[in-house]
Point group: D2
Chain length 425, copies 4
């Protein structure tokens, strides 16, 4: 063991969907920030709000992951440069070697029961794979364990950045860890999706797990119970990065002024693989339900809402959303607000993914486990809370940080170590 | 004294600019709500958030005020129906008699040093009036005192709903009550504007004063000192009802995600007298400065902003604002959000004016005086605080209400009376 | 016969859907214009472009029609005033008597095979009616004939302003007049819709027919052949009044600059009965197909388009449409244009309906029959032409008018009569 | 004379402002199209509409020009790639050598009387230059003559792509060629601007001249008379490429439906040098007046309009414009249309500049001279016509082409040569 590894914590980030636009943008961005080539814009963990909170430095994070498409991180990044222009070419070219090191950590993923559209995106070999649930599950665990060992990592955080699966109808078996394990063992392929295995594999071996997608199969009640039992941090669902972010920031305003919202229509258009997968109604169902619940929860009354997501190939990842809000005021007079959001999904989501990995690692180091409801501000459908108001959510996170600062002050004489493992499992 | 006046508090609302669109809408709306013809939409004081806080019932408020134009409340309301359609005709026709009672409480106001555009809107007789500052000031005091006496009112809240005056360059004399009084006495017409007199008159006789306009002459440092000394509630400036409301609700979102805002352009178009007055650059200066300070205060860094207000007669009071927000995210990639706000200014402002009068009356009853910074959420440029974040502002108000509820609980055994005068001056 | 009827032509306008928002707005508007209370805005036939072309004066038009809901024109107009504010109340009240005269010309219509959503809107008695196709058809003819006779009219133009029916799958029988007549006679209720009967009834008795809706059952190939044979003017389909109007005005611009349009997404939201009927996917199908064909026809290449219509009850008839246009330019760089259209459908459509009736009457007087393709500019899916470019369409109409002016000049010595019947059938 | 020069025409394009974003984009684009790397999008001269009209192939055009800033075309292009992403990096890198050949044709320009803002952008040496008008004029002529000679060119078209100068108050001297020449000779520096010299120099030596800017000093009445006298093609002013293009496409729609436009507000925001220059009110004046005249000309009545251009540095060349159109319809009901245009100015303008140069060269080859009013569709403020309707303008161009095709057919037996000089001066 080298001296460095004694004093310095090493963190692994295992991305499910590592060749996707989001993971690729996240990896390239982390490396460019570490080199000082690009700013830390987008990372809330890099702001003064986190003063005194020891976040993992980006250059101490080792990247790896699963994917179902044959590619390299560089190829995927180059495609993003070409189609969206969001990744700058010149710095990318200089990163080629480092990205090849990431490629060495990429393993073949699973499309088990993910629906036709996702399966069609996968490599033919992956698509045709007929291994049992149990074999796939064991393989995933082995892949992560090897990654950890090979790089001498203190911990690995697993984050699900894969395409949205269709919703899974949950049964009694999904309510407990043993139930899920039985389904896996008995190879009940229609009751388990790929994401079910990823989450199970992560938790089973004590790795924090973050479900950045709306796929409900990734964070079943049984998963959550396992996370609590093993004291492993877990959080989801569905990163809040665009139209829904704006919604949850704006909706409280109507409440503050007692301006009843009559209608809130939201239309999203986007291209690329994300748009393609969401053009499939079965996959879209997961997303829509996640986006639609926000408003009545914040406003406190039912209202006419509509959310649609349409595929417009020419937009690539540059998602455009138009929202029309019809509300009434004094004398029951009707007025309107409309907004157009034009943002690149991967650019908005990538720093949030890094923030979440850092915060999961932080919680893990402090010995915290189970649902991290203090991270609700990052999710469309946060676990462990009904709070959908972005402002409350954010200030909950700020309160959590302040509490940690206070705890640290109080315990400073006793526990001087930071950035080292606190947990034994 | 009748029995009714013992058990029931009677409140006067004295509106400066009582024939304007805002005051007219406020009066008509209060009366229609009191009759149950229209809902309480727009009034935050009518929501469950105010449970346990005794707000003045709308039908116990007697309306009166000053204006510089010859009109009647009914005529003004009819004009609004015709030009904007915001006041419904049929209920209005049934209100005619009640509105004539308000007319009996209307007195001729002053355009002293208000700038040409406002003076041109005034009745020729008002425009040509050449009374001294002192005479005008005395007349205003007498008008309000007579109103109070005639209607046997417990208190009168004065609210400035007049057109925006040009900014007043303040001098040493404006810093103290005696300084202002000296300027009035010495008839220094270029150092005093009409609104200076209204505010002075209100405070001098113990009436709470609210400056709903951006006119700085209405709430000079000397005014504030007088309010503190006499323990009279005072608050301003410039009701936050449209584009700036949206701004102060949205801007925090960019901070929560560390998305640096590069440019925030705001374009407002509106018609009617408000638009006409603001088309005058000298008057507009007050407004723009009030609208523009919000963003860098919330975001914590300087940014490129622009606010314009243009006169488009065909819009009447249906103000339309377009805001374009350019921000950068991860990898320094630039994205944008734009919104279009289409609201009727008077419809948005009228309930806020009523909310403020009720809350000023409430504070007054509890013996509170000086700047009411807990009402910051209602103002573009709130006195007594630097907080511009709408969410913080709103929760400050909620905290204030909660504190009052707690105080009331604690004191219930001692002071069972509510809705009666608490103060002696 | 009075002297007046000799010298002055009297025209009947028979509206199918006479209690609907469009017909009501049309009738009220025609009467207010005739009285000089409102301007002729919206009527192209009232502009200098029609100088020298003798359009029927609005006060010489007698209104009548069919409807399936029990109401009166006044009630329907009052509802519009209340929900949309588009019809002004005071003039409406003065019109009450005249509108009652129209009510005397209203007869019960049919919902034959119109789909559930339309049937549910109908009066229970109408819904339950079980008369044969033939009986209904005969009744319609009798209703119009009686109207004509009762008012001593020179001609009656029939215009279909009813709700959009689901598309009718056409068969061989629909290709000829005799085929359609056989279907009616044999009571083949699933091959005939209400609109099929209305059109047949009109043409059979020599009345010009205009299909302002997208319902294809109203203008079947067999109908067109009958119109040609009997030399009766006919035109359709689907009035072009909102989003599609803008589309057909804007799309040529992209062609003029060789800016290939990649994606054109159109989202329409509206309330009221129209929105309710279009919320039914079977009825919407007629509309969408009519709206979607415009672009590739103008641009000359296939492109990614999307049109949706969603029901948002709070909007009533104030339709809002958002279109997003993604196009590429020099260096294949992608840019965008978006527009938001906020218009009241009935307000936009009503003057077009009047224009069409006047122009159909004009053609009829000149002895013209068959498809009036010179009226293409008024339709989303014009008969008799593939031209979708609004500018070409409009200039075709201008050319038609110019041609008529020339013909009139040449024939002035021979045929001095205007505004009198030219045709014998 | 080489064999090549006999059979193949060689055309020079002399750009005033050759290092600007527009000229750079034009040159890079022309070269990438010539190599088949990018499509001909944006070039109307490359569409089937020009079948049978012999446009100059892009790879037979030799580029040169004047500029007042020290730079290279490559540097300028690289800056555009970096700030706007509109020029793709990889192809640009391969073009480096070719662009250096263009640099060899670049000469130092003049900022004579161009206003402070433009002068501040210039190289200090240029800014401090104190040569007389006459010397500058002679130098410009020599620069173009040497360019022509060095490259053995058949003709040189001069196009003004420089920054917008402040408007020049014209006097009697500006009305004639001799008047302008006298002003130059007498060194009347305040009555002549740099663009006055460029145009004079071009025409004097028989080179077609195109004023792509709104600078009126570039196409004075005296210039036009000279062009007529010498039979040299001339055209301007101000390329119509963005918001005004949309305006002139949309406005006719309101006329076709008799929907009176009440208000048309246009707000433009943009960054980069163009935005910086237009932030100077004196320079902006030229632009605004050019943009504002379009509407009432098309609609045929005066209306409330407003156009503003604001500098928002973060946008670089990605101009964003918001237009709000308020119009009334039937029953005088008011409705609205708003659009947001997001386009890159240089990307939109560059192909138009190439189209104009090709069409000027074509006219010149055919022996046409004077104002080319058939090119009105490309200008905000076209010379030689009052027609502002984009559709009429475009079809005028189409008619011109058709006429040329007919002439060619008729003359084919006599004059088989194409692409060779037709004129002697």
């Amino acid at each position: 063991m080298t001296k460095k590894s004694v004093t310095k914590r090493r963190l692994g980030l295992w991305a499910v969907g590592v060749h996707g636009g989001l993971a690729t943008t996240m990896i390239v961005g982390a490396k460019l920030i570490a080199k000082g080539i690009t700013s830390e814009s987008g990372l809330i963990t890099a702001t003064p709000a986190f003063a005194g909170i020891s976040m993992m430095p980006l250059d101490d994070i080792v990247f790896g992951g699963h994917d179902v498409r044959k590619s390299t991180v560089f190829e995927s990044a180059y495609e993003i440069y070409r189609d969206n222009g969001t990744i700058p070419l010149e710095p990318l070219l200089e990163l080629k070697e480092e990205l090849e090191e990431v490629d060495a950590n990429v393993r073949t993923g699973s499309v088990l029961n993910c629906g036709k559209t996702i399966q069609n995106l996968a490599d033919p070999k992956v698509r045709r794979a007929r291994s049992s649930c149990k074999d796939t599950y064991d393989q995933i665990r082995a892949d992560i364990a090897n990654f950890k060992k090979r790089h001498n990592l203190d911990q690995v955080v697993v984050i699900n950045l894969a395409s949205t699966e269709p919703p899974l109808a949950t049964t009694k078996d999904h309510q407990t860890p043993t139930g899920i394990e039985r389904l896996i063992r008995e190879d009940q392929k229609d009751q388990v999706r790929a994401s079910t295995l990823y989450c199970m594999a992560a938790l089973k071996d004590g790795h924090p797990f973050i479900n950045f997608t709306p796929s409900n199969a990734a964070v079943l009640p049984g998963h959550i119970k396992l996370a609590q039992k093993k004291n492993v941090p877990i959080m989801g669902n569905d990163g809040k990065t665009g139209e829904t972010l704006v919604k949850s920031a704006l909706a409280p305003m109507f409440k503050y002024r007692n301006l009843p919202v009559l209608t809130w229509q939201g239309y999203n258009i986007l291209g690329d693989r994300d748009g393609q997968v969401l053009a499939d109604d079965t996959n879209k169902a997961s997303k829509i339900s996640s986006k639609d619940s926000v408003l009545s929860s914040i406003l406190g009354y039912p209202l006419h809402t509509h959310v649609s997501i349409d595929y417009a190939p020419s937009l690539s990842d540059l998602k455009t959303a138009w929202d029309f809000i019809h509300f009434k005021g004094f004398l029951d007079y009707k007025m309107s607000l409309q907004f157009t959001w034009q943002g690149c999904d991967a650019i908005l989501a990538a720093p949030v993914a890094l923030d979440l990995v850092r915060l999961a690692d932080y919680a893990d180091r402090l010995g915290e486990g189970g649902v991290m409801s203090h991270l609700a501000c990052f999710f469309k459908n946060p676990l462990g809370t009904d709070e959908q108001d972005l402002h409350f959510q954010f200030h909950n996170l700020m309160d959590y940080l302040e509490q940690k600062r206070q705890q640290r002050k109080r315990s400073r004489t006793k526990s001087p170590k930071k950035m080292t493992r606190k947990k034994k499992r």
